[in-house]
Amino acid sequence: MTNSFAHVRDAKMVFLLGSNITEAHPVAATFLKQAVRNGCRLIVADPRRTGIAKLAETHLQLKVGSDIALLNAIMQVIIEENLYDKAYVEKNTEGFENLKKTVAAYTPEMASPICGIPAGVIAQVARDLASVQPAMLAYTLGITEHTCGVNNVFSCASLQMLLGNVGHPLGGVNPLRGQNNVQGACDMGALPKIFPGYEKVADAEARKKFEKFWNVKDLPSKNGIMMPDMLEGLPTKKIRAFYIFGENIANTEPDIRHIESCLASAEFLVVQDLFHNETSKFAHVILPSAAWSEDDGTFTNSERRVSRVRTASKAPGQAMPNWWIFKELAAKLGHNWKSNSSQEIWDNEVSVVAANIAGIKYSRLEGDGLQWPCTDPNHEGTTVLHKEGAFARGKGLFTPAQWTPPAEVADKEYPFVLSTGRRLYHYHTRTQTGRCEGLNTLLPHETADISPIDAERLGIAQGETIRASSRRGSVDVIAKITPDMPEGLVWMAFHFRENNANWLTNPAFDPISQTAEYKACAIKIEKIIK
């Protein structure tokens, strides 16, 4: 997030895209709901009539995967009608002409059939957005989990720059991170192209710095591969030893059948986790980890806030902290790593070597933590990035994008679009929430959410078990008929194994981020004939 959750409380206008915030980020939603109550204007773009969409002054119930067409059309109107922040664009950005050229074709009339939204509504939203400054834009995985996910993000950023909304406390471009420490895992360099602190592995200077710091020679200069390629590499033997720490890949990745065949072909697989799960079945070695609250450490939230995690009880049996496991493994390989606690790792390594968090030490994290960039011991942390339009890279670059449809669209044989996500009462594959008393009672099984119109046409009754199939698989699942679903769309989650949406999802990925298109694939649903 360029901004902070605190800013949501005072927001004047919020444009929320692809974010079922009341279920996926419930506490952030409380601030937004309060803001709306206090007069904040809210525009929501989502194919479903979500809880938050019900509170919006305008709900753009767009077709799945049409975000770029919508955003381009909004920008087209804003430019056409001269509603953009010219001074800001002039002073702080580059590439405006390029953007103008690309979006010119996207008149509301042209975008309307792609998005399934009347042209007049698109034009009105453009004017509404331009009428309040600053306005905040926030999104979640509805924007990123597409084959055009990166372009979606570029388009969101372009809109906010065009309106002069980046760099204001009540503006910004704000991705709400799905998992608690996605931000942190990336900051720590658990990515194939960067070291901790975002220095590039391809940069010789950076390598030299880390070689010295870790006291090793010849750090690899070649970018690594991302997880989808790792998995694909198992059957082709490009990858022969694979180490999975903490993700139940067999359930979370698109096309479970294929993923399982990849995992089964691993020559050597290590799984480090809390529980046996569908992934550990394929492991050659399983290592038991300490869980949250069984170890000290830090998490970094969506607003870049580093907060402390503390020990409440001891891990069971011989389960050990993960950092300890890696340290001991390093020792077996002949490397004696000195840091012997989370605090030592952070204070003596992470914060020494990663410049953007150099000012953060455990001693400063007793209270509410600190938001990076925080570069020295007296730095207060940063609540707003790109302050007053001063972009980190100098000028904000408009990266215009053309709309592209999802990799798989509905057709005769598979006439429905399936979109997926999480629900309030569970988390991911339920390895944790499924073992919490009460949560299973609140949501004991998966459902396929469908519209009343489709249900009636297919003769499906509320609560009836139906079959949902895609080109990749088929599951039997309970139908939940709700007016919150538009015609032609089915929505499912990936919390339960038997009817996990990922038996159906399409392993098509954004070419840059390699994020899978969880939000769109083609399926059919049918009554089960006994």
Binding site: T22, T30, Q179, N180, A185, M227, Y243, V309, G438
Partner: protein
């Protein structure tokens, strides 16, 4: 800055602050019961009444704004008598059995049933941290003289995580405000206003709107609302330890206060006023902690056998095997033939260590995390 005087002491306050807020900052205690900070809720129980010079009646400190030059007394004999009267009335209206165990008719049938459950010494789950109990002790209410009023009490045990025992409800309205003003769920109708309407009001939940966030549970000053899953788990009168930590679920990163007894979490609350959540939690943050105590936890390293079954191993054996396999693979097929995925739910320090292992020892950048799901 403006100034006023409390109990003869001159104190500073900011405009817009209530008397309670200003007093708190100055370290002066004024009792409150119905008041719920940051929600605008108060002015129901009158326990916070204070004397303000020039006013002919007592004013509720929780909902009266501080004003320049105000001259306030907080513990005069008249105020103490009023508080005693309020507390006595509250005790008589409900079934606050921690004090009235010896008095006949002082327990609701639910409480008696609860006391017969294993491992319980006390029927009330809030014993020891109840705000009503604290005030009754502080103002030395002669509990043995109290005659409980007749009455039936509602018990709502439908919720999987929360018991609502209205025999302990003091109709303060905090839960309704937490639900409506703070979580904005509007699941507890608050057609609730002043004392006159108080008679028949109960904070009954409309479960259609309830998101099970448990904010109501967190703010209830008494044992009326209690968490089911910790029930009967702490048997000893061990000290309750409070530990601040960060929620392990979504990217908001709410600050939690764990209540730990005998090395076990028995309740999770939001840390008041902390960024980013200002004391709020959602259903997972509040109730999603007990997976760590599951009997399914992996407790030893495991190595797969020829026949596909897993055999327990020592750390030494397991790590030796991994080290050998990775070294052999790298020797034979090069560093880029190995790969790893780190966990985006675990702590930063774990991810740092894992990428360090892959980069500095295995010499590959094939390290990623599960950020994209």
């Amino acid at each position: 800055m403006s100034y006023m005087t409390i109990n003869g002491k001159k104190i500073e306050f900011r405009s817009g602050e209530t008397i309670v807020e200003a007093a708190q900052k100055a370290g002066i205690y004024i009792p409150t019961l119905c008041h719920l900070p940051r929600s605008g809720h108060g002015d129901v129980c009158r326990i916070c009444s204070v004397e303000v010079k020039g006013q002919d009646r007592f004013l509720p400190a929780c909902s009266t704004h501080a004003e320049e030059g105000m001259c306030i007394e907080t513990e005069t004999p008249a105020l103490i008598a009023l508080r005693k009267h309020i507390l006595t009335t509250i005790l008589a209206e409900g079934r606050h059995d921690c004090f009235m165990r010896a008095i006949p008719n002082s327990k609701s049938p639910y409480q008696i049933a609860a006391m017969n459950m294993p491992h319980r010494e006390h029927a009330c789950p809030s014993d020891g941290r109840c705000e009503l109990q604290t005030l009754v002790l502080k103002y030395q209410i002669p509990v043995k003289d109290i005659v409980p009023e007749e009455g039936d009490f509602v018990l709502d045990n439908k919720h999987p995580m929360i018991t609502r025992d209205f025999s302990r409800c003091i109709q303060c309205g905090r839960c309704a405000s937490a639900c409506n003003a703070i979580q904005v769920n509007e699941a507890i109708p608050s057609q609730f206003g002043r004392r006159a309407e108080k008679e028949n009001w109960l904070p009954l939940v409309n479960y259609d709107n309830c998101t099970h966030c448990g904010e109501c549970l967190q703010v209830c000053p008494t044992g009326a609302l209690s968490a089911k899953k910790a029930y009967g788990l702490s048997t000893k009168k061990d000290e309750l330890i409070k530990i601040r930590t960060t929620c392990p679920y979504c990217g908001v990163g709410c600050q939690q206060e764990l209540l730990v007894k005998e090395g076990r979490i028995i309740e999770v609350n939001g840390v008041a006023d902390a960024e980013p959540n200002l004391g709020r939690l959602c259903v997972k943050g509040r109730f999603g902690y007990d997976f760590i105590y599951s009997k399914d936890r992996l407790t030893t390293p495991l190595i797969r056998q020829e026949d596909g079954s897993f055999k327990s191993a020592s750390w030494d054996e397991a790590l030796e095997l991994i080290a050998t396999k990775f070294t052999d693979t790298i020797e034979k097929y090069g560093a880029d033939s190995v790969a790893g995925v780190s966990c985006s739910r675990s702590i930063n320090e774990d991810s740092y260590q894992m990428q360090k292992l892959f980069r500095s020892i295995f010499k590959t950048n094939n390290i990623d995390n599960c950020a994209r799901t």
